[in-house]
């Protein structure tokens, strides 16, 4: 069998990595929410949630705030007949899917997405996907994954989706190493990264997921995986099982994160240190200049992260390392040591890491500490603002191109904006 391999980056020092675990009420989205960006990324895919009215309401509430055109996702809402076993689930799914395909004949992949109710009643969507695959062979790829809140949080939905796609990736027969970038990136970032890899001489790069359903990269022992997003633990492990090698590195947020990320790729592809510095010099220089221009108001400010998107630890590292902020408490829905080690190694020892959530006590700590900025979910931001605390709603960080050198200043700017707004407004009372 293939042995999972990890190539560690060389920044492993520092933080004692004590992660306190909390249990209780969580104010975090479920994995279904990932569909909001996945359906935009994979342009010929349709995501069909098999769930309840709550699932449909969640998706339009989380997404409807932002999108105005008809989505490429929908919900097959379970009714009493489905729950009582009176309706033949397979027949019902076939009918609903025919409706979807009639409306969207150009769909090339269909994702059946499990939800809390479908998991609890043990609806076998894997089986349904296989059956549907046989029925639509040649015209449609059908894949099932779970985005249920009892198993996944927020961005973990993408992890579950990509993990389930991995068995569909063809077996490669590469003689030389090939790079695979895993995790949804905006198109503009993907294009920038492609240009930088080409300049480094790494020509053979696949992005996963791709923009079209047929863009499935081949996997073999020559595959080197670099994660573009910090929430893809299951995907990374599944790729390792297919023989791929995981390159661990900090995530490409900020100048330092991006540098370390490209360095990890360069090492794995034996790019010389000279070549690496030569290629990165221009983007690094302009990015440092741009961040310095923007981040001034953040210097010396204190920031707390409430758990939300799983981006919390890399973002805290960026704010500390490049913007002069002090992260007080960094909450994250779950902590995956394999992916986070290179990140936490760079965090200050005084930063408290919390995995999971117990909402009311966590809010009490925010009220006590009164950080200059709290990064939190949409449901909590306005209540904290109303208490005179500045916030940054974290979902925006998932819907904005923030990775890479040329987005580093944009990323800093997202945190600066609430503070600048406070300076600017002469109405109402702040704290």
């Amino acid at each position: 069998m293939n042995t999972p391999a990890v190539i560690a980056s060389d920044v492993m020092t520092g933080h004692p990595t004590e992660v306190r675990q909390e249990r209780g009420q969580r104010a975090v989205f479920c994995g279904l929410t990932s569909i909001i960006w996945l359906h935009r990324k994979i342009q010929d895919a349709f995501f069909l949630v098999v769930g309840s009215r709550t699932c449909a309401h969640l998706l339009q509430s989380a997404a409807g705030v932002m999108i105005f055109s008809e989505p490429r996702f929908g919900t097959a809402v379970l009714g009493e007949r489905d729950l009582a076993g009176m309706a033949d689930c397979n027949a019902e799914l076939d009918r609903v899917i025919d409706e979807v395909l009639a409306r969207r004949p150009n769909i090339r992949s269909l994702f059946l997405v499990g939800s809390c109710p479908s998991e609890v009643i043990k609806l076998d969507l894997d089986n349904a996907a296989q059956r549907l695959q046989a029925r639509h062979q040649g015209s449609l790829r059908v894949v099932a994954f779970s985005g249920s809140g009892i198993e996944t949080t927020f961005s973990q939905g993408e992890d579950a989706c990509l993990e389930q796609l991995i068995p569909h990736l063809p077996e490669g027969d590469q003689k030389t190493p090939k790079l695979l970038i895993a995790g949804t990136l905006s198109d503009v970032v993907e294009d920038q990264f492609r240009r930088l890899f080409a300049a480094l001489g790494i020509e053979s790069v696949d992005f996963f997921p791709g923009r079209q359903s047929d863009a499935l990269p081949a996997i073999d022992r020559q595959t080197r995986v670099l994660l573009a997003q910090p929430y893809l633990g299951a995907t990374a492990r599944a790729l390792q099982k297919r023989g791929a090698t995981l390159l661990t590195a900090p995530f490409p947020l900020g100048v330092e994160g991006s540098t370390a990320w490209f360095t990890a790729a360069a090492k794995a592809f034996s790019v010389s240190a000279e070549k690496l510095s030569e290629v990165l010099l221009a983007p690094q220089t302009r990015a440092r200049r741009a961040v310095a221009n923007v981040a001034q108001p953040l210097i010396g400010k204190r920031v707390t992260f409430l758990p939300d998107s799983q981006l919390e630890i890399p973002l805290a590292r960026f704010l500390q390392q490049e913007c002069g902020m002090t992260p007080l408490e960094v909450g994250t829905p779950f902590y995956d040591a394999m992916l986070m080690q290179p990140e936490v190694a760079q965090l200050s020892e005084t930063t408290e890491l919390v995995e999971g959530q117990d909402l009311d006590p966590a809010l009490e700590r925010v009220r006590q500490a009164r950080p200059d900025l709290t990064v939190c979910g949409l449901g909590i931001a306005n209540p904290l603002e109303a208490e005179g605390l500045r916030t940054k709603w974290s979902i925006e960080l998932l819907f904005t191109p923030i990775q890479g050198f040329d987005q580093a200043a944009d990323l800093a700017e997202l945190f600066v904006r609430p503070l600048r707004r406070e300076q600017r407004l002469e109405v109402g009372e702040w704290s």
């Binding site: 055109s69 379970l78 609890v120 249920s148 979910g377």
Partner: protein, 519 residues
């Protein structure tokens, strides 16, 4: 299973959250998995609430399901009461919790929490948001007042010399313009010498609900939320229910007439001049509004009210009327029948879209969903009902009820349309290069409503067998007809040609058909 792209209503437990969030001192323990807290953001983002709704979610996970989720419920209940110290605790299941049958209501009643507990049964797989709000408000009212119901033979105290008073029932958080409707209705009632006893659920505490029986009547402002409670109060406390929704000038006058009748007192006269709408509508400038084809869809209360205003106060022609509220479908059916229309009762967005596409109205009055539909079809649109977006929770005072509400409605319904003279000029000089069909009304600026008009009629132009062919000159002539009636003209002409046995439609056929149908 039912395919849903957008949903008009959330699940019933979301209705329970709306009632709890509207009130003071009420807390809800919702047995639910992670993710159901999305509900918070509707309050804090769409209505810009400065507080989280008063809900504690039990947040069970897959690993809890093997063991005892009941223990998690009991623990969550205790912590919720300790932390929030509510006057009343509501306890409910979300859709997933309903499947695992922990009976959190029963657990709460047996947990010695030191606070009144009202368990709710939310029926997640058969009911929806408004039913959930209605049921929650009813259970809360009944739970608090059941002990003080007088004997069936007791009669109400006559009003006598004291000023009469009413309760305003139904307004909630995330309802349509509830904040301003309450203010406007209080103003209206005070102007005729009627006091407001309690407004609920919005702004009420459990203590306020105990005061409900002191009013002489109940105004059932939004039957979606309050009808069940009003019926119960009428039965048990002999309080008559005022059922007219005072939206529009005529309905406001009817409301006052019903108030006078049910209270058995004379009320001061009102005048048509109390609202600007009657004169604005009669002024010659509004002539162009005559017979504008309007499609209306929303909750039953707002859809029925909008239909009456559109039809008899603005002179539009209502060509479609529907609602997603099955519980209030009867009222809407009656209104549709009166207008000679087939009512559309559905919660399926796709059916509404099909209806709008087929009817080709010039204006759509609806919810956020109809805004999507109208945008896609390039039709002017105004939002008159929930579900609504953040921009429909405006900063300015904009009630729907009463005389000021009628002013707001006049503006809301007229603003999206092209103004009269502009429309005439368009009709005359159809081929002007910058001032044409594809242009948005000039007061709406660039990129207004008319973004993607190309496909507006949604008609399949493929050559069906039996459909007469169009000569190119006739096609060209057809393009000179305004876009909003072009589809209808095409259909009528084809129908006429088939009836006359004409195989190819030319310009003559087009005008023959026009004359034939202009009756």
């Amino acid at each position: 299973m039912e395919l849903t792209l957008w949903t008009y209503e959330g699940p019933p437990h979301f209705g329970a959250i709306r009632v709890a969030a509207s009130m003071e001192g009420v807390h809800l323990m919702l047995h639910s998995p992670q993710g159901d807290t999305y509900a918070d953001l509707l309050f804090t983002m769409i209505e810009r609430d400065g507080k989280r709704p008063p809900v504690t979610y039990s947040t069970f996970q897959a690993r809890d399901l093997g063991g005892s989720t009941a223990e998690l419920v009991t623990d969550t209940l205790k912590r919720a009461v300790e932390h929030h110290q509510p006057s009343v605790l509501l306890v409910a299941d979300s859709c997933t919790a309903e499947l695992i049958q922990d009976q959190p209501g029963t657990l709460a009643l047996g947990a010695d929490l030191g606070v009144p507990v009202i368990p709710l049964e939310m029926a997640a797989y058969s009911r929806k948001e408004n039913w959930g709000a209605s049921e929650t408000f009813f259970q809360l009212t009944r739970g608090l007042l059941a002990a003080s119901v007088p004997s069936a033979s007791a009669s109400r105290q006559p009003i006598g010399d004291r000023p009469p008073s009413v309760n305003i029932l139904g307004p909630t958080k995330l309802g349509f313009r509830c904040r301003d409707d309450v203010i406007e209705l209080e103003k209206l009632l005070n102007s005729v010498g009627v006091d407001v006893n309690v407004v609920a659920p919005l702004g009420a505490s459990p203590r306020d609900l105990l005061e409900l029986p002191h009013a002489d009547a109940n105004v059932c402002l939004y039957p979606e939320v309050a009808a069940m409670t009003c019926r119960w109060l009428e039965r048990n406390f002999k309080q008559p229910t005022i059922t007219t929704t005072p939206i529009g000038v005529a309905a406001t006058r009817d409301f006052l007439a019903e108030l006078s009748e049910k209270l058995g007192i004379e009320l001061p006269e009102t005048s048509w001049q109390d609202s600007h709408l009657p004169w604005y509508s009669r002024s010659v400038d509004s002539t162009y509004l005559t017979g504008k084809r309007v499609f209306i869809f929303g909750d039953a209360t707002h859809a029925v009210a909008a239909a009456r205003v559109a039809n008899s106060e603005l002179g539009f022609e209502v060509v479609g009327l529907g609602t997603y509220s099955r519980e209030q479908a009867r009222e809407l059916r009656a209104a549709a029948t009166e207008l000679g229309l087939q009512p559309l009762i559905t919660d399926n967005y796709l059916e509404v879209e099909a209806a709008v596409t087929a009817l080709r109205p010039e204006l759509v009055l609806g919810t956020q969903m109809e805004r999507h539909i109208a945008k896609r079809l390039g039709i002017a649109c105004a939002v008159i009902s929930t579900p609504a977006h953040v921009q429909d929770y405006p900063a300015r005072y904009s009630p729907q009820v009463g005389f000021e509400g009628a002013n707001v409605l006049f503006d809301t319904l007229v603003h999206p349309l092209m103004m009269g003279l502009e429309e005439h000029l368009l009709g005359m000089f159809r081929e002007d290069f910058e001032f044409n069909d594809g242009a948005a009304p000039s007061h709406l600026g660039e990129g207004g409503v008319v973004a993607e008009r190309a496909d507006v009629n949604g008609v399949d132009h493929s050559e069906d067998a039996g459909t007469p062919a169009w000569a190119s000159c006739a096609e060209k002539e057809l393009k000179k007809i305004p876009f909003f009636v072009r589809g209808k003209a095409r259909r009528n002409t084809e129908q006429f040609a088939v009836a006359q046995g004409i195989a190819t439609i030319d310009v003559e056929t087009l005008y023959e058909a026009k004359a034939h149908f202009s009756r």
